[in-house]
C-alpha cells in the first residue's frame, strides 16, 4: 500500500510530538520507523543557544543537515526544545556562512588562502610582540566556543605569548555571578542542579524573563507548580513578561533599586524567626566587605532596611516585601534563580551576595529543593570560560593567575615556564577594548563573538577596534565585528566539529561531529594550534591532533580541584547525557550537591557534625555580606527622566548572527522596537508603531514604539538584537568594581516622538 506525503508527514509530526512528551506514538505507521532508520543518521549534541544545555539530536541525511529533535534521554530537557533550538540545523547551511578566509587589502576584505591569512596574522602578532611586548596583544573569546577551543586559546595567550589580556564575553553576562559565588561560597558555580527544581516549593525569580530567555527551564517550573499545588513563585523584576503567567507575587521594582529589598527580606526572615541558627553557627561568617563582623553587627546593619525603606527605594508596596519574606521563610525548600537583571549591574556582585545571604540565613542550600541558582546566558559560558580559564584573572580548573602555586601547576601541564604566565590579571573586556581605543593594545584575536554589537557604549570603542589589527574567527559573515576586521578566518560551526559544552548546572556534555566543515572552514582549535606553530611555539602544541587530545590535557588541570573532571573522559561523555562535576574518576556518577555529603571532596573529618562545609573557604564557612544598597550608576534626572533597560526576546538570540539567518524567526519580530508603558505613551503623545527617538548621554536611536503594559511607568525596554539598530550605542559602560561587568540594565534616557 502507499500513503501520501501529507499523511506521512502528519504521522511523523504526531509521532515526534508524542515522543517529546514521552507518550506512546499516536500513529503506529511502520513507514515512519523504516524511513527514519534507513535514511537519517542522528547525532547526539547540545543546543547552541542559551545556557540551559538542552540535549538535541542532529539528523544528517546524505551528508547534509536534515533536521533537529529534542533528545528524550537528556535529563535537562527530556525531548523538549524552544523555537530557536528547533531551527538550529538550518543555521549550518545559512546563506551567510563564511566559506574562505578574508584579508583586508586596500581597505576592502578580499578572499585569501589560509596560508596567506595565517602568515599575516602570525607575522603581525610577532611584530607587535617584539616591538610592544605581550600586553599589546589580546584575545577575546566566547561562552559559545567549545571548551577545547577556549582552553587552547588560553594556553597560547597566557602560557606562550605571555599576556593575561585574554578575556571572554561572559564578562558581559555572567561575571557578577562568578564574583558572587566566589566571595560568598569560595568557589564559582551553583551548589545544586536542575534536579532541585523537582523538589522545590518556593521559587524566587529575580531579574530574569525565564519564559523567553530560558523557555525549557520555564517549562520545568510550570511542571513543578502543577505537580506540587503548594508550590509558589515570587518574581522581582521591573517588567511584566510571559513569566508572570505562573507567578504568585510580583514585585515590579524600579530598575536598579532592588538591593534594599533583598536586605529587607533578610531582616524580615530574622525578625520572624525563619533563620536556621544551627546552620549559621556551623557554616557562616559575616563580613562588611572589608572586615569580619558579628551576627549581631549584621542584624544591626539590617535595621535600616525596613520594608517601608526598601519599598520606597524600589517604589513598591512594603506589604509585598513582608509577604515575599514570609513565603520564602515558611517554605521548607527554596530556590532563587536570576539572570542578566542581576548580573548586568554596577552592583551585580553585591546583589548576588544578597541573594546568597537569604539562603545562608535559612540554611536553604545543599539539600534537595534548595539552592541559589544562577541561570546562564550562553551554552558554554560555564564549561568553557568559567571552568577552562577564559577570563583575564583565572586559569583552567578554577585557578587564579595571581596564585603562584596555581601558575606552577598549570605551566607544567602546558609545558611552559611558570614565569611565562604573568602573576597579575590582564585587562577585563571593557578595559581591553578601552586599551585598544587608546592604542595600547595593537593586535587582537576575537573568537566566536561580536563585540562591535555587544559592547556597551559602542561609539566609544568601535574606532579603536578599527585601528587595532583585528583578527576574527567566525562561521558567519558579515557581522558587525567581522566587517571591520583585518583578517576573517572561516571556522567550523556547531555540528561540524566535536567538543564539550558545560551548562548552568555544572553538566559537561559531548557534542558529536556530524558533518564536514563547510567550504574551507576549519575547527577553531586547529586554527589556534596553526597560529601557535607559525608564531614559533610549535613544540608546545604539536601533540594536539584533535579535540580529544585537548580535552584529555584539560582534564589534568581539573584533577583534585573543586571542579574535578577526571572521570569525564571523552569515551564516557560520548555515551552519557553529561556529567555534573566534581566527577573524580570514571566510576563516579557525578555530584548533585556540592560542599555536603555526596560531594566527593566533602571533608568529613573537618566537617564533623556540620551539614555543609564550604571547603574552598579557609574555615569551611560561607560568608553573609552586609553590602550597601548601591543604586544605578546613571539615575534618572530632570534632563534624562526615563529609565532605559535592555534585554532579549524569545525568537532571537544575542546579535542575531545565527537566528538572523532564519527568516521564520526574524519575521516574528521583524523590526527593532521599544516597549513603552501605555500611560507614558499617552503622556508623551506616542501611539503604537509611531517612530520614537531614544536619547542617552551617549547616543540616539530611532525605533518603533510598542505600547504595551509590560514596563513600569517611567521605564522603556529595548531588545538589543538587531544589527541595523545598535541598542548598545545607548547603554552605559560603567562596570561593577568587582566583576567588571557593565550595567546594561539601567541607563537614563529621553524619549520623544520622532
Amino acid at each position: 500500500m502507499s500513503i501520501s506525503r501529507r499523511n506521512f508527514l502528519k504521522a511523523s509530526a504526531l509521532t515526534a510530538a508524542a515522543a517529546a512528551i514521552g507518550v506512546e506514538p499516536l500513529h503506529k505507521s511502520s513507514v515512519l520507523a523504516a524511513a527514519v532508520q534507513e535514511s537519517v543518521v542522528w547525532y547526539k549534541s547540545v543546543c547552541r543557544f542559551c545556557g540551559v544545555g538542552c540535549g538535541v539530536m542532529l539528523g544528517v541525511k546524505d551528508g547534509k543537515p536534515f533536521g533537529i529533535k529534542g533528545d528524550k534521554e537528556c535529563p535537562v530537557n527530556k525531548g523538549l526544545l524552544c523555537v530557536k533550538g528547533f531551527y538550529l540545523h538550518r543555521m549550518i547551511t545559512a546563506k551567510n556562512r563564511l566559506l574562505h578566509p578574508l584579508v583586508r587589502k586596500n581597505g576592502k576584505l578580499e578572499k585569501a588562502s589560509w596560508d596567506e591569512a595565517m602568515d599575516l596574522v602570525a607575522s603581525r602578532f610577532k611584530e607587535i610582540l617584539e616591538k610592544d611586548g605581550p600586553n599589546a596583544l589580546a584575545y577575546y573569546g566566547s561562552g559559545q566556543a567549545q571548551t577545547e577551543e577556549t582552553y587552547l586559546a588560553q594556553r597560547l595567550f597566557k602560557g606562550y605569548i605571555g599576556t593575561n589580556n585574554a578575556d571572554g564575553n561572559p564578562r558581559l553576562c555572567m561575571a557578577s555571578a562568578v564574583g558572587g559565588y566566589t566571595t560568598s561560597f569560595g568557589a564559582d558555580e551553583p551548589i545544586g542542579t536542575y534536579k532541585d527544581i523537582e523538589h522545590c516549593n518556593l521559587f524566587l525569580i529575580i531579574g530574569s524573563n525565564t519564559a523567553e530567555a530560558h523557555p525549557v527551564i520555564f517549562d520545568l517550573l510550570v511542571q513543578r507548580k502543577k505537580d506540587s499545588p503548594s508550590c509558589k513563585i515570587i518574581f522581582i523584576d521591573p517588567r511584566k513578561t510571559p513569566t508572570n503567567r505562573i507567578v504568585d507575587l510580583h514585585l515590579q521594582v524600579k530598575p536598579g533599586y532592588d538591593l534594599a529589598i533583598m536586605h529587607a527580606i533578610a531582616r524580615q526572615l530574622i525578625k520572624d524567626g525563619y533563620t536556621d541558627e544551627q546552620f549559621i553557627k556551623d557554616s557562616v561568617n559575616f563580613s562588611n566587605g572589608k572586615d569580619p563582623i558579628t551576627y549581631d553587627d549584621y542584624k544591626a546593619f539590617l535595621e535600616k532596611y525596613t520594608p517601608e525603606y526598601a519599598a520606597e527605594q524600589a517604589d513598591i508596596n512594603p506589604a509585598d516585601i513582608v509577604k515575599a519574606a514570609r513565603m520564602f521563610g515558611e517554605s521548607p525548600t527554596a530556590m532563587t534563580m536570576w539572570c542578566m537583571g542581576v548580573n548586568q549591574r554596577v552592583a551585580g556582585v553585591f546583589l548576588n551576595n544578597l541573594i546568597h545571604n537569604i539562603h545562608l540565613l535559612t540554611g536553604k542550600l545543599g539539600k534537595p529543593g534548595c539552592d541559589s541558582f544562577s541561570l546562564t546566558g550562553q551554552p558554554n559560558a560555564c564549561g568553557g570560560v568559567r571552568e577552562a580559564g577564559g577570563l583575564c584573572h583565572i586559569l583552567p580548573g578554577h585557578r587564579l593567575v595571581a596564585n603562584e602555586q596555581h601558575r606552577k601547576v598549570v605551566a607544567e601541564i602546558w609545558k611552559t615556564s611558570p614565569d611565562k604566565i604573568q602573576p597579575t590579571p590582564g585587562k577585563h573586556t571593557v578595559a581591553m577594548f578601552g586599551a585598544a581605543a587608546k592604542g595600547e593594545i595593537k593586535g587582537m584575536y576575537i573568537l566566536c563573538t561580536n563585540p562591535a554589537q555587544s559592547l556597551p557604549n559602542l561609539n566609544k570603542y568601535i574606532p579603536g577596534m578599527k585601528d587595532t589589527f583585528l583578527v576574527v574567527a567566525e562561521s558567519f559573515y558579515p557581522t558587525e565585528t567581522s566587517k571591520i576586521a583585518d583578517v576573517v578566518l572561516p571556522v567550523a560551526f556547531w555540528g561540524e566539529k566535536e567538543g564539550v559544552y558545560g551548562c548552568t548546572e555544572r553538566r559537561s556534555q559531548h557534542l558529536a561531529k556530524a558533518l564536514n566543515p563547510s567550504g574551507e572552514s576549519r575547527w577553531d582549535g586547529d586554527v589556534i594550534v596553526d597560529l601557535a606553530k607559525r608564531m614559533g611555539y610549535g613544540k608546545g602544541f604539536e601533540h594536539f591532533k584533535g579535540p580529544e587530545d585537548v580535552w584529555s590535557e584539560y582534564q589534568k588541570t581539573t584533577a583534585g580541584t573543586d571542579m574535578d573532571l577526571s572521570g569525564a573522559t571523552y569515551d564516557r561523555l560520548k555515551k552519557v547525557r553529561g556529567l555534573t562535576w566534581p566527577v573524580p574518576d570514571t566510576s563516579h556518577p557525578g555530584t548533585w550537591h556540592r560542599f555536603t555529603e555526596g560531594d566527593p571532596y566533602f571533608p568529613k573529618d573537618k566537617a564533623g557534625n556540620r551539614r555543609m562545609y564550604f571547603y574552598a573557604k579557609p574555615d569551611g564557612k560561607a560568608v553573609i555580606f552586609a553590602r550597601p544598597d548601591k543604586g544605578p550608576e546613571e539615575p534618572v534626572s530632570a534632563e534624562y527622566p526615563v529609565v532605559l533597560t535592555t534585554g532579549r526576546i524569545l525568537e532571537q538570540w544575542h546579535t542575531m548572527t545565527m537566528t538572523g539567518q532564519i527568516p521564520e524567526l526574524v519575521r516574528a519580530n521583524p523590526v527593532p522596537y521599544a516597549e513603552l508603558n501605555p500611560d507614558d505613551a499617552k503622556l508623551w503623545g506616542i501611539k503604537n508603531r509611531d517612530k520614537v527617538k531614544i536619547i542617552t548621554r551617549r547616543g540616539l536611536l530611532t525605533v518603533k514604539a510598542k505600547v504595551i503594559d509590560r514596563t513600569r511607568k517611567g521605564t522603556i525596554f529595548i531588545p538589543w538584537h538587531w544589527p541595523e539598530s545598535l541598542t548598545n550605542i545607548l547603554t552605559i559602560d560603567a562596570v561593577d568594581p568587582g566583576s567588571f561587568e557593565p550595567e546594561y540594565k539601567v541607563a537614563a534616557c529621553q524619549v520623544a516622538k520622532a
Binding site: R5, A16, A18, A20, I21, V23, S30, L80, E664, R667
Partner: protein
Amino acid sequence: MIIASMIVTTQKGMAEEVALQLKRVPNLTTHGVYKGDNIIVVMEAEKEEELVNMSRYLMNEFEDILGTYPTFMASEDEVDEIEEK
C-alpha cells in the same frame, strides 16, 4: 505547504478548554491532551515562518497558554509519495 507539530502547555486544569478554543484557529488541529496539560497540535501552513508566527500568536492571545514547544516540521513538496513496506 508545510506540516508541523508542537506541544502547547497550559495552566493547570485548562488544557481541555484551551484545546477546544484552538479548534477554532485556522490551519490548526489538536490531537488530544496528554500528561495533564500538554496539548499536541499539528499545523498546516503555506510557509515555514507560520510556525513561529503561530507560536507567538498562541502565547499572545491565550492567557492560559504557558509555552509552545515545536517538535516537527517538514515540507509536503519535498517527496511525492513514500511506499509502505
